[in-house]
């Protein structure tokens, strides 16, 4: 029992995407049929469950728009009375302020990651051109001659 409890983890999925909404990500999780708890929030989702399930799901969700979906751990489980606004009389929960500040910076971070990925693609393509195999060269020559 203790072992099972230790394996429970909670993660924030913060969505800063033009293509994916928190509700889309939540639907994707419901479709996956993993036994996890999902809570939709203004900035994304809170997912809680067994470590393996949550990590697999988070990776699937991240792939929806990988440079604009950000993930971090959360210490408290969702709805925990020590943090939940419902039991604390409203107002932002402790820890939300810094998250809100970071969420404002996410579009710029996402754009920078996009740019970085595009650059890597260009570099890879150039490398591929440099390493032209003789067999490929033969094919090109044959194609040209057959015209």
């Amino acid at each position: 029992m203790t072992e099972m409890k230790k394996e429970e983890i909670t993660k924030y999925i913060v969505i800063s995407s033009d293509k994916v909404l928190p509700s889309d990500a939540a639907m994707k999780i419901y479709e996956s049929e993993f036994p996890v708890t999902v809570k939709e929030t203004c900035f994304g989702l809170i997912v809680s469950g067994a470590r393996d399930d949550v990590e697999t799901l988070v990776e699937q969700i991240r792939q929806l728009d990988k440079n604009h979906i950000f993930v971090k751990d959360r210490g408290f489980p969702p709805g925990d009375e020590r943090r939940c606004r419902a039991s604390r009389g409203g107002g932002p929960r402790p820890g939300f302020h810094f998250l809100r500040e970071e969420v404002q910076m996410l579009p710029a971070i996402g754009a920078a990651l996009d740019e970085l990925e595009a650059k890597e693609c260009v570099i890879e393509k150039r490398k591929a051109k440099c390493r032209l195999k003789t067999s490929d060269l033969e094919k090109v020559i044959e194609e040209e001659l057959s015209r």
Binding site: K5, R74, G75, R82, I109, A112
Partner: protein
């Protein structure tokens, strides 16, 4: 999931840093994982007071008895993370330091301990514009990619494990 290196991040609860470190295959050392152990532990008998009598003793390892109790309490959580640190990313001038990371003396002590540990440390400024964000991301990515891809001794450990398994089968 196997990680390449354990990377300490400051601010210790940063979403951006934790995500980027994990994105590039390393393990972020964050306050959240420490908090999880505290608040979900079945042995804890007095929530929401999550500090047990053992914690201030742990904190004494990093801060003297004259130092405010809050610093020692925080260091009881942050200190063990610093000990595991294999690399660190420190962001200067983060816009807000609220809640558990709102103690400047703890933050100064944390940064001092990380810097004096002798591990690779990247120090960057918190971005405030798109261009700064680009530089911020590029620097962090370059730093994370420069970290060792294989842990020293990992192969030996794997070999030892395999040998032990073979012996067990015999």
């Amino acid at each position: 999931m196997s990680f390449l290196a354990k990377v300490f991040i400051y601010p210790i609860n940063s979403l951006i840093l934790a995500d980027m470190v994990e994105r590039f295959g390393h393990k972020p050392l964050t306050m959240m994982s420490q908090i999880r152990e505290k608040v979900t532990s079945l042995s804890l008998d007095s929530p929401p007071i999550n500090i047990t009598p053992e914690d201030p003793k742990l904190g004494l390892k990093y801060a003297a008895i004259e130092v405010p109790a809050g610093v020692r309490g925080r260091m009881a959580l942050i200190g063990p993370l610093i000990e595991q640190t294999e690399a660190a990313i420190i962001v200067e001038n983060p816009p807000t330091d609220f809640g558990c990371v709102g103690c400047n003396r703890t933050n100064e002590l944390t940064k001092y301990l990380v810097r004096s540990k002798g591990v690779p440390v990247l120090e960057v400024k918190y971005p405030e514009s798109d261009e700064e964000a680009r530089d911020f991301v590029n620097k962090i990515v370059a730093f994370l990619e420069s970290l060792p891809k294989e842990k020293p001794g990992a192969d030996e450990k794997a070999k030892d494990k395999e040998a032990a398994e073979k012996e067990d089968k015999k």
